[in-house]
Symmetry: C2
DNA sequence: GTGAAAGCGCTAACAT
DNA sequence: ATGTTAGCGCTTTCAC
């Protein structure tokens, strides 16, 4: 009877199928369950048994198949991330930090990039098929029905650096948009700028709208009247066009607050190289994020920081949260105003 | 008899376990196999049956579990990527492009970041447990024994933008290091620079060594004698230190070729802001990669391009290659010299 | 074209 | 501490 098994084994195999726990068990002279235990931290197994298993495993080059494990446990230790098409280094740094942290937590990242700024439902659906433990949207959108579905399935859906466009509460981790934009506005006024303008993202972006409203709010409270603004894209090409539009105005703005450092760098270059303006003296430029590049001497950009590490801390809490309590927490991480040369008048 | 099944079902479930093919089958009044076929493109199934299945699936919110599928098929449609700790945007762009392309090919990316520039064996081992179809090393190292193991297991191991440090042939996709560095050298000479220096990466990096040897080779053939050089790190902080070292030399170099645009930008800023040098006229700066930032007016950096799209094309070929023939192909993708202001003397 | 049955490689009771 | 057994959710023969 037992022999039959061996006979039926050799099926087609394109690639030399890797050794299984069974193979190891046979070689080590133990049960297959013992092999499983040997590779499970904290399982009850004798030291000598484990050693024998490990020896055999080593000889065969055995590695536990995590797909099988995930199948049983119902969780994959995989975290899905969707990154919208963007060149903004902020997200790259966040991705790196997150990857490192998850790695230490024994979890891994399944990355998708959403093309064309469209909503990322397709990618998310795909991700869900892998039974990811959590889903992180970094610069991408998702339809409300799909989001609701995630909630029903008990899969934490986390918005990073943005909130959902619709008004429902899902978990999100963002920077301090309102205090940040207000701090920028007050700083510009203090520096004596009197014709500030705003260069922001799309009007249906909650992140943009928070920053925009806060910024304009402070200025209008000071009686500055109508503030010129352009709402374009968060990408470089769009920002360059928008900057030109603003700088061609008569009277020309004497300061521009940009919704992110990434587009602020573009704006600064347009002002300096196309319009020949002396940054700081003739025109103040400010951004948001405090990415590394902002502090480079070429830009020396005033900005409000979104501290990546604390933000990722919060993401980790949400990801590890099994209670399901915080699945709709709106977490705001404080930043700080970074005064630099781009808004220094003297 | 049948009733017993239903009774034994309710085990502990923290999360509402998602509907299975079985559930769908019951609701649709078909066999579980039919459900599988309905979700398998090209499977032999009647149109009406598929429709009934899809209807039921929709109602239950069913999604095939890819972990189970992968378990059976022995392949996961997952491609593992290890990215070494780096802020170099070149890799971010490459990651984005690769993700988009793989997505279209029905494959997905499992990302790891290797910390501290150490070798990434741990991460790779982890990745292998997920039965990835291929493994891509972006700025990370791996030990030779582990690499050999991958080869034995039939898992394509692809080095991106670098070759393995040891002399064995594994698949790699790189830019044209030698022609590129030679082109830079000739260009600097043509522009009349006479005291060129080299600012490169670590001496055990094959990428660095190819560029360095090619660059120095051309200059020495012209009889320029000893070329000052510093081998530091590919990261910004190290590059800044190295640039200072070079610029403090007496006589001061009148041109610096940096092993990547990323460190060239740092060097350019040191020259311009710390040493007050007029870039181009007083000192020529050149990089390698032609990242987007290189063309920004703040840098206007002469460089040799490593075209991401064609490079990813090659990666895709290697990933999809089931023949196992090209597993040791050393693919070099041509680039082009980009002459810009940073090496313009007049 | 469809269903029954046999696993993929593993973990988790349950015995012993 | 260890082996036995029963699946996890799916794909894939194999009959019909």
């Amino acid at each position: 009877m037992k022999d039959i098994k061996d006979v039926t084994k050799p099926l087609k195999r394109t690639r030399p199928s890797p050794p299984s726990a069974h193979d190891v068990a046979r070689l080590a002279g133990v049960s297959q369950a013992a092999v499983s235990r040997a590779f499970t931290p904290g399982a009850s197994i004798a030291k000598t048994t484990r050693e024998r298993v490990m020896l055999a495993a080593d000889e065969l080059g055995y590695r536990p198949n995590l797909l099988a494990r995930s199948l049983i446990r119902g969780v994959s230790d995989l975290v899905g991330i969707v990154i919208g098409n963007t060149r903004n280094p902020f997200f790259f740094v966040a991705l790196e930090e997150l990857s490192a942290r998850l790695s230490r937590a024994g979890k891994h990242i399944l990355v998708f990039t959403a093309e064309g700024g469209e909503n990322a439902d397709v990618q998310v659906e795909d991700l869900l098929r892998y039974r990811v433990d959590a889903l992180l949207l970094m610069s991408a959108n998702i339809s409300q029905p799909l989001a609701e579905k995630c909630r029903r399935d008990g899969i934490p859906l986390i918005f990073f650096n943005r909130r959902p466009r619709w008004d429902i509460d899902f978990a999100s981790v963002t920077g301090a948009n309102v205090p940040g934009a207000e701090a920028i506005a007050r700083h510009l006024l203090e520096q004596g700028y009197r014709r500030p303008a705003y260069l922001g993202g799309p009007l249906d972006s909650p992140t943009n709208n928070e920053r925009q409203a806060a910024f304009l709010g402070v200025l209008q409270a000071e009686g500055l009247g109508e503030i010129p603004r352009v709402n374009g894209h968060f990408e470089r090409a769009g920002a360059i066009e928008a900057a030109r539009t603003l700088l061609r105005l008569d009277p020309q703005p004497d300061a521009i607050f940009c919704a992110s450092d990434f587009i602020a760098m573009a704006t600064l270059e347009v002002a300096r190289f196309e319009f020949g303006l002396d940054i700081g003296r003739q025109i103040g430029i400010a951004g948001f994020d405090d990415i590394l590049e902002a502090s480079w001497p070429s830009f020396d950009l005033t900005t409000y920081s979104q501290p990546v590490v604390p933000m990722i801390d919060k993401v980790m809490e949400l990801v590890s949260d099994t209670s399901g309590e915080d699945l709709s927490a709106q977490i705001v991480v404080e930043g700080a105003l970074r005064k630099r040369g781009s808004t220094r008048r003297d």
